[in-house]
Structure formats: C-alpha cells, structure tokens
C-alpha cells in the first residue's frame, strides 16, 4: 500500500472515529436517586436477559472449549500465544496512550513492542517483562474517560460481557485504532485477531476456577459480575479512590 493511500485511509478512519465520538453525549445520564450501589443500571431487565444468554453460551461453549484448550495446549505454547496476541495489540494501546497525552506510557509501550518483536521472536516471548518493562494499559474507552466523557449506563454485551456505554463505544472505536491493520496485507492482519481469540479462550480455561466462582457459584451472578467489572474498570482508569470509600470506624460491629 502506497504511503498516500495509507494516509488517506487513516484520515478517513479518523473522521469516522470523531463522528463516533460525537455520538457520546448520547450516553445515558443518571437522574437523582438512580444510582444503586454506585452503579447506574437503567437497562437491568435487558441486561439480565443478555446475562442469561452469556451464561448459557459459556456453559455450552466457552467454558468447555477453554478448559479443553488449556488441557491440550502445553503451558509454554499457551503463554506464547498470549504474548503474541498482546504484542500485536500494543500499537493500538500506544495510539491511545498518545491520544491521552501519556507520552511516557507510549514510550514504554513502544520499547516493549520493539524488544518483544525482535528479541522476543515476533512477540512470542515477553522479554521486556523480564526487565520490568510492563504494558501501560490504554484503550479508547479510557481515552474517552481522560477526555471527560461520562461513564454512561452499565450494559452487558452479548459474548463480550460486562461493559459501560463509554467502554463499549471505546471497544467499537478500537477496532480501527490499531495501525498494524492498515499496514499489514489482507489475510495477515487477521492473524492477530485469531491469536487474540485463542488467548481469550486460554484465559477462560486458565482462570476457570475464579470465573466459575463468579458465574456459577454466586447467589446472583448478574449483580456480582456487574459489581466486579465496575470496580476493576474504575480502578484501571484511576477513577475515584476506592480506599477512601469505606470508613471502618463508621459501622456498629457489636455482637459480630
């Protein structure tokens, strides 16, 4: 692909991206008294239906495939596939680091990408991690947070699972933020996607016990998944200080 076509295509996509961002004010806003347990969930009835669907899909497919995958594929190979997929997604993270003005993060991630792509044999090995050069996370949902876009309502997406309106929009935009997808020729660019899917499948198997404890063992897996997702997401974004929220001196513990 010539450099001019490449640039034009990036600009077209960027315009599309901005158009999408313009849709953001459409995120639902909580009214007074609508936030329960610190989560705004006006679509709970629909979300619960999707949760049932996801639960069934997990039981019938994701869980057995994931557990089988982890059993069959040797640990080293599984780690290699995970590393390979995460390395190919790094350029997208770097784009988001930059959109957030996080130059240090972009620099560290770029070093990571260079080290792992070369010394790590195309990203199969995480050599950068051995030198404490770990990934500084970045996705477009986070970029929207940094830009001051509100979180919107909680939504559970089919297959993808828990999300917020802002995070879901970010995910959609991130389909276009990986520069590699503009540079790599046609079937090659899907290798990253395939590795990404394989790595997700592996995670399902590897963390089977933990995920089972949420999905199958909790009394209300919908609200537990919602609570855990929201806490973890806000923690990743650095949104709020959870350590301040609960005062141990406020509670009457008599009798316990």
């Amino acid at each position: 692909m010539g450099i001019v076509t490449l640039l034009t295509s990036i600009w077209t996509r960027l315009a599309l991206l901005l158009a999408l961002a313009a849709l953001v004010p459409g995120c639902a806003q909580p009214g007074p008294g609508q936030i329960e347990g610190n989560v705004f969930d006006p679509y709970e009835a629909n979300n619960r239906q999707t949760h049932e669907l996801n639960h069934a899909l997990d039981k019938a497919m994701a869980r057995p495939v994931g557990v089988g995958y982890t059993k069959i594929i040797p640990d080293d190979l599984e780690d290699g596939i995970g590393n390979f997929a995460s390395n190919l997604s790094l350029p997208s993270t770097i784009v988001n680091n930059l959109l957030q003005g996080n130059v240090e993060g972009a620099f560290r991630n770029s070093m990571r990408f260079v080290f792992n792509s070369t010394l790590g044999f195309g990203g199969l090995f995480d050599v950068a991690g051995d030198f404490d050069l770990n990934e500084i996370g970045g996705d477009f949902g986070q970029t929207l947070y940094v830009w001051g876009v509100p979180e919107g309502a909680y939504i559970e997406l089919p297959i993808v699972g828990p999300s917020t309106e802002r995070a879901a929009l970010g995910k959609a935009v991130d389909l276009f933020t990986n520069p590699l997808s503009y540079v790599l020729p046609n079937p090659d660019k899907y290798i990253g996607t395939a590795a990404g899917v394989a790595s997700k499948v592996g995670d399902r198997g590897r963390y089977a016990e933990t995920l089972d404890s949420i999905l199958y063992n909790s009394a209300d897996s919908y609200s537990q998944a919602r609570s855990i997702f929201m806490q973890n997401r806000r923690f990743q974004l650095g949104d709020g200080d959870a350590a301040e929220e609960i005062n141990p001196f406020d509670l009457n513990t008599e009798g316990f």
Binding site: G82, N97, Q100, G137, S218, F256
Partner: protein, 201 residues
C-alpha cells in the same frame, strides 16, 4: 496511566517516609511503619502456606488461622451483612461471624492457591483518613504483576486489616453483594443463609 500515577504516589510516600525518619511526627510515623509491618507479616504467612504444597483442606485451615490473626473479622462480617445486620439477633450475629470466617478462608484460600509458584510483595504504605493503605504486588507465572491492596486500621486497638482489593476489586463490597443476594434468595431468612454459608463457595 494508573500505574504511572501510582509510581508517582509511591515516590511521594518514600519522600514522606524519609521526612518521618529525620523528624519523627510520632503517631503517623509509628502507624505507617506498623501498618507495613502487619502486612509484611501477613504476606509472609500467606506465602509460606502457598509454598507449603499442603492439601487443599489443610491450606484452608491455615488461611482461616491467618485471617483470624491478622483480620478485623468482626468488622468484615458486620460489613458483609450490611443493613440486614440490624435485625439480626445476638445469636445470629455470633453464628454468622463464625461461619463467615470459614467461608472467607475457603473462598479466598481457593484464589490464593492459584498463586502457587507466585508471591506477594509489600511495596508501599499511604495514610488514608484514619487508616492506612498498604500496596502489595502479586507476581504470578507468566503474568504481568498486579496490585493487591490491604487496608489496615487500629479500630480494635490493634492493627488489623479490614479490607483487601485485588486489582481494585473490593472484598467488602463483593461479599456484601454476595451475602445480600443469598439473603434475598432465601426470602430474607437469616438462619437459612447462615446455614447455607457452610457449603457456599
């Protein structure tokens, strides 16, 4: 992004600690140090259990002992029961508190077992209002290091941890959601919930 700001915060705490050593402002200095000491000891014991290679059941027993020794167990149980605690009788509270400790040790013990081959390392302390936040890093096989945080207070007169976060996921909130849902599922019957806690995962 968060990691960068956390690193900055760590630097600041380091600087603050350095100031304390030069000119001790008694109480604060003592507490920061003792909060870290508590978590160091706690993490040391957890690491030893993880590395011991004991059976699952034996490990849960060890975790229960550690939880009782280092944790503010009555606070954690009271928080988990939430508003329902107000209508619980003295006997129900006592029974719940005991069953809850076993349940927590089993549930979190099972998670800690996944740390086999890994370790926790206490990194930094920072004061939050009238308690302390001790940040530790978990290192697992072929996994980017992640953050496990302990909140420590001397509410009981002794330093105890009263909450734990794994990558921002809060033990107290998670357990209040869980216990609340269990109570709802049983039509508000506290005795039934307490009885079922024995087999809950």
């Amino acid at each position: 992004m968060t990691q960068v700001s956390r690193r900055k915060a760590t630097g600041l705490i380091g600087a603050a600690l350095a100031t304390f050593t030069v000119a001790p402002t008694q109480a604060a200095a003592l507490d920061t140090v003792s909060a870290k000491k508590l978590v160091d000891a706690l993490v040391g014991e957890i690491n030893r259990v993880i590395a011991s290679g004991k059976s699952e059941q034996a490990m849960y027993k060890d975790f229960k002992r550690i939880f009782a020794k280092y944790g503010d167990t009555s606070y954690i149980a009271a928080y988990a029961m939430g508003n329902d605690g107000r209508r619980a009788s003295g006997a129900q509270k006592k029974k719940f508190s005991a069953e809850f400790q076993t349940y927590i040790s089993r549930k979190y013990g099972a998670r800690f077992r996944e740390f086999i081959g890994g370790r926790l390392e206490a990194k930094s302390v920072r004061p939050v209002k009238s308690w302390f936040e001790v940040t530790t890093t978990a290192f697992l096989r072929d996994e980017a290091p992640f953050t496990v945080t302990f909140l420590v207070s001397n509410r009981t007169g002794r330093d105890k941890f009263f909450n734990m976060f794994i990558e921002g996921i809060n033990l107290l909130l998670t357990e209040r959601t869980e216990i609340g849902a269990m109570i709802d599922r049983r039509g508000g019957n506290l005795d039934k919930m307490i009885a079922d806690l024995r087999t809950a995962k």
